[in-house]
């Protein structure tokens, strides 16, 4: 069954109020890395109708990703950008979703994130996380970075928190649970951290905190 853009907007406004929905509609958010953090955060943002989503990842969906990442069997082998775009448009076909199937590096940050207001860092490798956070804060004077560090395993949910590190830099996670220390990444805890990132982005878009 197909719904019109107006019907979907009305449904969102009924849940969120028109004032808040208007702010979400205008949101321009990049999701950099479409693994456990990025795929779950992007899905949450698509559900509340964040108007402009920019999905970035170079990788394909692997069977081992399905323990925590927002993909299905039919997506295995597909580029994550295509697989996630397909799902988000199933939630809301009127969202503006841009994709870039590239590997982010210091040299392409300036061009890649030029149109995004908020950048959700959702990489896996710590060196890549640091590269993106440093790169965005150094190369842009006004963009906000929401990053994540420490969400492996099945430890205490309440150790995962959101804090403002600096003016344009927020960090979610417990900041200690490293995925490399024989502790796997699992859907429940990674989703909690992705939820922290997505909720902070919602707050930034709605209240500008």
């Amino acid at each position: 069954m197909a719904f019109s853009k107006e019907e979907i907007q009305e449904a969102l406004c009924r849940r969120h109020t028109p004032e808040i929905q208007e702010r979400l509609n205008k949101g321009r958010v990049a999701i950099s890395g479409l693994g456990g953090l990025g795929s779950n955060a992007a899905s949450a943002l698509a559900r509340i109708g964040v108007g402009h989503l920019h999905l970035i990842d170079f990788d394909r969906v692997d069977l081992t990703n399905l323990n925590r990442q927002h993909y299905f069997m039919r997506h295995v082998g597909m580029y994550k950008t295509d697989a996630l775009r397909e799902q988000l448009l199933d939630i809301n076909p009127y969202l503006d979703i841009q994709t870039d199937c590239v590997r982010v590096c210091e040299e392409n940050i300036k061009e890649l994130f030029a149109k995004d207001d908020i950048i959700c860092e959702a990489f896996d490798v710590p060196e890549n996380k640091a590269m993106l956070v440093n790169g965005v804060l150094e190369q842009f004077p006004d963009k906000i970075v929401v990053s994540a560090s420490g969400m492996a395993g099945y430890g205490d949910s309440n150790m995962i928190r959101t804090r403002k590190v600096a003016d344009r830099f927020y960090l979610c996670g417990d900041e200690t649970s490293d995925s490399g220390a024989g502790m796997g990444l699992m859907a429940p805890r990674v989703s909690i951290c992705a939820g922290h990132e997505a909720n902070l982005i919602a707050r930034l878009l709605i209240d500008g905190i």
Binding site: G33, G35, G36, L37, G38, A122, F123, D124, V125, P126, E127, K129, A130, M131, V133, N134, L137, E138, S147, A148, S149, G150, M151, A152, V165, A166, D167, F169, L171, E175, T176, S177, D178, S179, G180, L185, V190
Partner: protein, 89 residues
């Protein structure tokens, strides 16, 4: 007598040397730290065992560009926030 003079010169020298070195009190991730005035950030991070490729550093609320770590001097009253990323996503 001569030994006494030598010791005196040595002690005076030691006193002069220690007076010449000023200590700086900085805060690192909320904790007070004493270090020598004028130590650069790159050396400090190395001494503390941080892996430069995995961190982001804010000094007095501003991001410190990676390329500037070596020329960023730490002074009394500086506030550092060092985020050390771990893996997983």
């Amino acid at each position: 007598m001569k030994g006494c003079t030598t010791a005196g010169v040595f002690l005076c020298g030691l006193l002069f040397w220690s007076m010449g070195k000023e200590d700086a009190m900085i805060r690192v991730n909320g904790e007070a730290r004493m270090l020598e005035e004028g130590v650069n950030l790159l050396d400090f991070l190395g001494q503390e065992g941080y892996q430069a490729a995995r961190i982001a550093v804010e000094k007095n609320g501003e991001i410190v560009p990676k390329s500037s770590y070596g020329e960023t001097m730490l002074h009394d009253g500086d506030v550092l926030e060092i985020v050390s990323f771990v893996g997983g996503g």
